[in-house]
Symmetry: C2
Subunit: 145 residues, 2 copies
Amino acid sequence: MENKTARFEKLLVKNGLKRTAQRLQVLEILSGRDSATSQPYLEQVMGKNADRVTLYRVLQAFEEKGIIHKVLDQQGTANYAICSDGCSAHEHHDEHVHFNCDNCHKIYCLDTVKIPALKVPAGFKVEHLNLIATGLCASCSDKIN
Amino acid sequence: MENKTARFEKLLVKNGLKRTAQRLQVLEILSGRDSATSQPYLEQVMGKNADRVTLYRVLQAFEEKGIIHKVLDQQGTANYAICSDGCSAHEHHDEHVHFNCDNCHKIYCLDTVKIPALKVPAGFKVEHLNLIATGLCASCSDKIN
DNA sequence: GCTATATTTGCAACATAATTGCATTAACAT
DNA sequence: ATGTTAATGCAATTATGTTGCAAATATAGC
């Protein structure tokens, strides 16, 4: 693979954000995981590399630019995942299903699963759909049974 | 309609909960609204009739017994609605769609809308589905256009 | 490379939300 | 009426999120 850091730097520049150590580290962490990452976990891993406030602001900036998207888990905790291509400041395309494992509490973005269209009562105008499935992920399902 | 308070009292007893003023008032409030009720709103309406801590505990007890169900809105704020029949401590049947209005921020339980079955990757075991639609509710849709 | 400028960060203070322990109060079975 | 257990309120604590501002840092222009 091409130099990952270089790719992240381009991503930042493209979005008018400066290339700072904290931002790069957040991208590094998020990209290295197979599931969405909770804010508390990020906070912990960043440790003294970034102030708590900075993390909030980095995440907020990334979300606004469409670099990452936020998913709330069943406890209301914010989790973040890098957006697949096609997201921008103008428009998020994160209408895929999120899977929240009851056991390991990981949140998986099931990019391949599309949310089926929905019939709503007359008058209601649906803008966005947000579907979270809970249960056991493949890995925990294996371990437990 | 039969005496509402009497019905609530039965509901409490049936679930092994004592008939307290605070619990009855919470049921009263929730039942009198056409959409899910946010915790902050409940807190405000209860006023000095209940301590904030008591409210947390009442809601938690109700949720555990299957009397109400919790829906998180897009901001992660807890909202509560009385469960339709068929919910119990063992099993919630709140797998209908929730609609979060972007304008009035109400959360409607669209009991009539069923969540379509879902194809997930091999190994994943879905236990519950949680679908939140955002957009404009019928009432706001009218007013705005 | 050096400097000017605008952005970003960290700190401190503050605001809000949630949790815990414990003494007091209230419900209700007998 | 009374004893027992559950529920409440209060105080203290912890967690979570926000704001203003001074210091530090990235980078564009020289």
